[in-house]
Symmetry: C2
Subunit: 214 residues, 2 copies
């Protein structure tokens, strides 16, 4: 039994149902916390599910900022400092990571409030999350306003990556299952993962092989 939802349905005022539904339909999302710091040295940490791969060479990551109709601490601090951190979320810190999405008062660090630990590394001005097993320091390189709804795509170049050695496969891929990496569904769902397949490079003349079967 199929449900068909079309334009007429979302001309109605936004409610929790449509918010949850339309936050789900992109598919599973990355689970990251964005670390920033203000000009008084107070750190800030916020959950983002919109971090997206932009390029590998140079390594670029994007993320979607919500409209600036209210104060956005993460955006403000990234603009001022020009640097920020991206910290992966694992099963062991899921509740703490979700908690960083609450609206904490300015001047209060979500690190302390949510039970996560600041970690400054190699002179980078913004703290990483100590508990995160894959974390990056980035420099803001581009800001693209999205006219359709007032959101903003921020693009950053990766300057540092810290990752647990055992997590990196010989081919360069991250072994996500080994670090209990999470995926986010909608606004509230957190999912653990199990590797189903690792496919050979796809060519037109033959179906890809699942390398896990060999």
């Amino acid at each position: 039994m199929w449900r068909h939802i079309d334009l007429e349905h979302w001309k109605a005022p936004e409610g929790y149902f449509s918010r949850n539904f339309f936050n789900s339909i992109s598919g599973l999302k990355s689970a990251n916390m964005i670390g920033t710091i203000d000009d008084k040295g107070v750190s800030n940490l916020a959950l983002f599910s919109s971090v997206v791969h932009i390029g590998a060479h140079p390594p670029l990551l994007g993320m979607i900022m919500r409209p600036l109709t209210v104060e956005r601490q993460t955006y403000d601090y990234i603009k001022k400092v020009g640097r920020y951190t991206i910290n992966h979320v694992h099963a062991s810190i899921a509740a703490k990571a979700h908690w960083t999405s609450a609206k904490f008062d300015k001047g209060l660090s979500e690190f302390a409030a949510c039970g996560l630990t600041e970690e400054f590394l190699d002179g980078f001005p913004v703290p990483y999350v100590h508990e995160s097993q894959l974390k990056m320091g980035l420099r803001l390189v581009e800001e693209l306003p999205i006219q359709s709804n007032g959101t903003i795509l921020l693009v950053g170049e990766v300057e540092h990556v810290y990752v647990k050695e055992k997590t990196v496969q010989d081919d360069g891929h991250i072994d996500f299952a080994s670090i209990d990496e999470l995926a986010i569904g909608g606004l509230a769902g957190y999912f653990t993962v199990r590797k189903l397949a690792e496919f050979s490079f796809a060519r037109p003349n033959q179906p890809p092989k699942n390398l896990l079967d060999q």
Copy 2:
């Protein structure tokens, strides 16, 4: 044991290691196939792991197109027709979905070549993937060139959603585990998911509750 990778490492020519590594570090990615159609009525289908949530009201989804230095059929057809489909990938069609990432000749439909079925619905000009249990018809509304590396963010408004009734929870969230939804890691890894938590709305004064524990 930590591995620290910094700017010096990616000034080297790009190889498979860095390509896989930097395609992994955004975290787990959505698994979707983009359906398009050319002016001769030949359909096209291509795997994308960069579909990202842009907004819920109106419902907007983004995706990253690679640089137009070579022919990009998906991009060309979206521009010409103004409409495209996004079709979720499930465990049962993982190998076929990955196969659509191969470079097939122009004029050949990846639907037939990879064993997936075209489905035209409600007068929409572009086919959906019959085997997909969550699929959408979109209208291109915005195109943002990313200067840093020549990629392009395409933004589309969702005009139609088709989803299996049992998949939609009462609160509007999609029950991803029930449709064997996949997440992608890097360029070759496909992951099934299990729901770990569904958290209550985060408020500053108390840790979020896992509603699955109640």
